[in-house]
Each structure stands twice: as C-alpha cells, then as structure tokens.
C-alpha cells in the first residue's frame, strides 16, 4: 500500500513538473510572439493609429482560422513543423510547439481587445502633445492596458493547462495525461480524483495570483 502510494506520488510529481514546464514555456513564447499580431491588429483597426482595412481583415482572418482548429488536429498537422524546430515530434519539449502555435492567435486577439479598450481621449491627448505613433503605442496603449493584458494571460495559462492534457497524445506527459491514461483508460479512480484536484488547485492558484496582480497594477 505504501509502495503503491509513493509510486503515485512520484508519477504525479513528474507529471506536475511536466505540466508546469509545458505551460510556462508555451505561455512565454506565445505572449512574446502573439504581442506582435495583437499590436498590428490594434494599429490597423478602423479606430487605430494607422487604419488599414486590407491588413486588418487579412490578419483577422488568419487569427480566426487558427483559432477554429481543434487543438488535437493542430497537434497532428504541426508534427513536421515541430520536428523542424525541436528536432523531434514527441515528448514534453516537442509539445510546447503546438501549444504555442495554438496560443498565439488566442493571445493576439486578447491583446488586441485589451489594447483597443484604451480611452481614445487619452490617445488624442498624447497626439496633441506631439507624441509619435511608437510613443503612443508604448506610453499610452500598452501602459494603460497592462492589467487587462495580464487578465488575458491568466486566461491563456488556464486554457493551456487544459490543452496540455491533450499533449499526452504526442508523449508530452503532464497531469492531464496521467488522468487520461491512468485514471480513465486503466480505471484508476484515485488517479483521476487526485489529478483533478491538483488541476483545480493549480487553476485556482493562477487565478488568485492573477487577480492580485490585476488589483495591484490597475
């Protein structure tokens, strides 16, 4: 009984580390990369600093296309690409690639929405003082939107925790993978329960930290 429990603890500890590892890196990469389309969408939107219907509509369409792919399908489609980037298509590190790719359009849209919520009067005020577009972007748009963008990142982390469960398909591991393989496929209810509780605690923790930071920053 004791041996069995310690086995479970080891398995869960490893899985937990894998989940944190996958979620952390895919969040980091997608936030950095997704910031760019987010900014382009904001600037080229009809109410942006450089309205450009062609650019906005095209980028918007691409974002929508990527967002409508079911993650499990994206995972498979991206196998050649993943192999190109990390050298292999299987494993925890490899699963960061599809997780990141699926997260980029999501966070781009969230950043766009956050940035565009900036009070247009404040932008006009900045323009009236002779601010350049790039100054307005960083000193006004981003500065004013940081709490909203942070909320978006919390949302992203939580949905990446969910997606990472599917990463088991490509040998990514993680808590969700354990819940599926041990809990569901092998009928080990105790694994299922512990994994679920761990995920709930994980999500709650992220949300709590997020809320705290939001309050502090706004």
């Amino acid at each position: 009984m004791i041996a069995y429990s310690s086995g479970m603890t080891d398995i869960l500890m490893t899985a937990l580390k894998q989940t944190v590892y996958m979620v952390f890196w895919s969040t980091l990469f997608s936030v950095i990369i997704g910031f760019i389309p987010g900014v382009i969408l904001t600037l080229t939107a009809p109410d942006g600093l450089k309205p450009n219907k062609a650019v906005y509509e095209t980028l918007s369409f691409i974002v929508n296309v990527f967002r409508s792919f079911p993650f499990i399908i994206l995972l498979v489609i991206l196998i050649p690409f993943t192999r190109m980037i990390v050298g292999k298509a299987i494993g925890t590190t490899a699963s960061i690639v599809p997780l990141t790719i699926s997260a980029i359009p999501f966070i781009a849209r969230i950043f766009e929405t956050s940035l565009r919520e900036t009070n247009p009067g404040v932008i006009e005020a900045a323009r009236s003082f002779g601010a350049s577009d790039i100054q307005i972007l960083f000193h006004v748009y981003v500065k004013e939107s940081i709490p909203r963008m942070l909320n978006g990142v919390v949302l992203l982390i939580i949905s990446l925790i969910g997606y990472s469960a599917m990463a088991g398909t490509v040998g990514g591991g993680g808590i969700g993978d354990i819940a599926i393989r041990f809990g569901y496929q092998q009928y080990k209810t105790d694994y299922l329960v512990v994994c679920s509780v761990l995920l709930i605690i994980f999500v709650q923790l992220i949300q709590m930290i997020g809320n705290h930071l939001y309050k502090k920053l706004s």
Partner: protein
C-alpha cells in the same frame, strides 16, 4: 498669433467647416462658441494638426500648417498645450507622472531634478501640491482638469487650447477652472483658445469671441458686442432669449445698457421728461468679465412710440423694437 483663413473640412459627405476665417491675437483669451455640431471642436483640432483640413490655410506665427511635414507638425504641437472635456488622464499613472507624460515624448527624463522642479511648480500653480501621488480615480472632476492643465503647461507652450474644458463640471467648479485659465493667461502670457457651448465661459473670461454656426463664423468680436444686442436670429436662438411673455398690445422696445450708461436714471428720466407711463416687462443684467451689461424691455403706447425713440436716440441708448 493664429490666423485662420477660409478653412474647409469635409467628413465623408458631411461638410463640417464651410470656409472659416478668424484671427486670434497674441496673449488674448479667444472664445469659439456655438451649438454642438457647429464645427467648433473640429476647428480647434485643425489648429494643432490633430485634424487635417481640405482647403484654406491656418497660420501660426508665420508658420503655414498645410506646408508642415510630420516632424515640424510635432514641433508645433509642442508649442500648444491642450485640455479636454473628458480630462483624458492616464488612469494608471499618478498625478506626477500624468503631468510628466508630455516630457517623455520629448526626451526629458521625468525623474530628473529639473523635471521635478517644473512639475512641483505646476502642481503649486493649479493647487494640487498635496495630490502629487494620487491616481486620477481618487480625484474629483475639477481636480482632474487641474492635472490636465498642469500637463498641458509642462512643455512651456505659447498656446493653450481648451476643448469644452468645463462642460463636464458644475458651475462652481467651472468658475475655479476659468479663474485658473485667466491667471495662466495673465501671469504666463499664454494665448488661450477656448471652445465651448457655455455662455458663462465666454462672459467670464473671453476677450474676443467667434460665434460659429453651421460651419461658418457668423460674427466675430467682443462678447458684449455679440451677445448684449444680438442682431442675428441664430445668436438669439442660441441665447434662448425669453420674450414670449411680452404684452400683445402697444409697442415693446428693448433697451441695451453697458457699464457706462447705468439704466436707472435713464428710465426714470424718460418717464419724467416725456411725462408718460410705461411698464417694464423684462430685464436682465449680465457680467462680461469685469463689466455689467444689461437689457430691458419696456412697453409703451403706440402714440408715444416716436417720442420715446427720439428720446433714446438723443441719449445714445441702443434700442430695438421687438416684433
């Protein structure tokens, strides 16, 4: 000096400015008044290049706006501070950093001792020394506008453009803000252009005013010239002068007074000299900056009409027979 000549501007199909011409002299407080939709705010935005115009020219101290490239336009904008109806402060920055914002756009470090000295000086001017580290949400409307004024002055502008700056404030707070604007004009010699739909703003501070109606300047001049005896129907409609309760019989004559010809002796004098009776139907007194202007409607018998009007002409009193 700002010189606007025949400026036209069209949004899609809507012609907002239909050939506007006016001049703002150095060191004066100039008002642009009119109904909403008259094109006032658009005109103000044309002056500092926030908005472009299709035809005509705006000249600021010999600089022609239509000839400026982006860089020179920014330099011009640096010389013009602007305040807004909605204050437009950054919610996440405290008072100090809101005031410092324009400095960042011009490569001045807001933490430098020079910048700090300037900002402290300005918070003193607007009376918010004790709020340096408050966030905008902790401030009242009047205090927010004071922060916005300090921010507009931080680059030492020659002009201050005010876009409906007091429209969101209650009358008492408005007075305080207007007094501050007047002080800035007097003590710092900054030329001020005020766009407003509030008569009390024009009356309290403006030295000259343009009445904008439907995209054109209907009249330009001293406020008392425009509004004490308004000749144009549009201006009268704007002022919503109440004369609907005047008697239907006899002749209603409106007399206009300014600070130099006090009204009481004239009216009683007229009754005595002409040995006639008349009733006073309506009257108002108005303060224009430091002077008092008034108007009075009297009702006389049809037979006294000529005598009364002759008397008024002799005394050089402005009058008008109301329909």
């Amino acid at each position: 000096m700002i010189h606007i000549e025949n400026v036209r501007k069209t949004f899609q199909d809507l012609q907002v400015l239909k050939g506007v011409s006016l001049s703002v002299n150095e060191h004066e407080i100039y008002g642009i008044i009119g109904q909403s939709g008259a094109g006032k705010s658009t005109l103000l935005r044309c002056i500092n290049g926030l908005e472009s115009f299709d035809e005509g020219e705006i000249t600021v101290d010999n600089t022609r706006l239509s000839s400026l490239n982006r860089k020179d336009l920014r330099l011009l904008q640096k010389r013009m501070g602007m305040i807004f109806q909605g204050f437009n402060l950054l919610e996440r920055l405290d008072v100090y950093h809101n005031i410092a914002l324009p400095m960042k756009f011009w490569g001045i470090n807001p933490s430098s001792s020079e910048a700090e000295k300037k900002i402290r000086e300005l918070t003193g001017l607007v009376g918010l020394e004790d709020k340096l580290h408050a966030k905008p949400r902790e401030l009242s409307g009047g205090q927010k506008q004071r922060v916005a004024i300090a921010r507009a002055l931080v680059l030492d502008p020659e002009f201050l453009l005010c876009d409906e700056a007091t429209s969101a404030l209650d009358p008492e707070i408005t007075k305080g803000i207007l007094a501050l604007i007047q002080k800035i004009n007097k003590e710092m010699g900054i030329t001020i252009v005020i766009v407003t739909h509030q008569m009390e703003v024009v009356k309290q501070v403006c030295e000259r005013v343009a009445f904008l109606n439907n995209g054109t300047v209907l009249r330009e001049g001293r406020p008392e010239e425009l509004f004490v005896k308004p000749e144009r129907k549009e201006i009268r409609d704007f002022l919503r002068e109440g004369s609907e309760n005047l008697p239907k019989y006899g002749v209603n004559i409106q007399l206009f007074f300014n600070g130099e010809n006090n009204m009481d002796p004239t009216v009683t004098d007229m009754a005595r000299t002409l040995d006639t009776n008349f009733s006073i139907c309506w009257a108002k007194l108005e303060d224009f900056r430091d002077d008092v202007y008034g108007s009075l409607v009297i009702n006389v018998d049809e037979k006294d009409r000529e005598r009364v009007l002759n008397f008024l002409n002799e005394r050089k009193i402005l009058w008008e027979v109301l329909p």
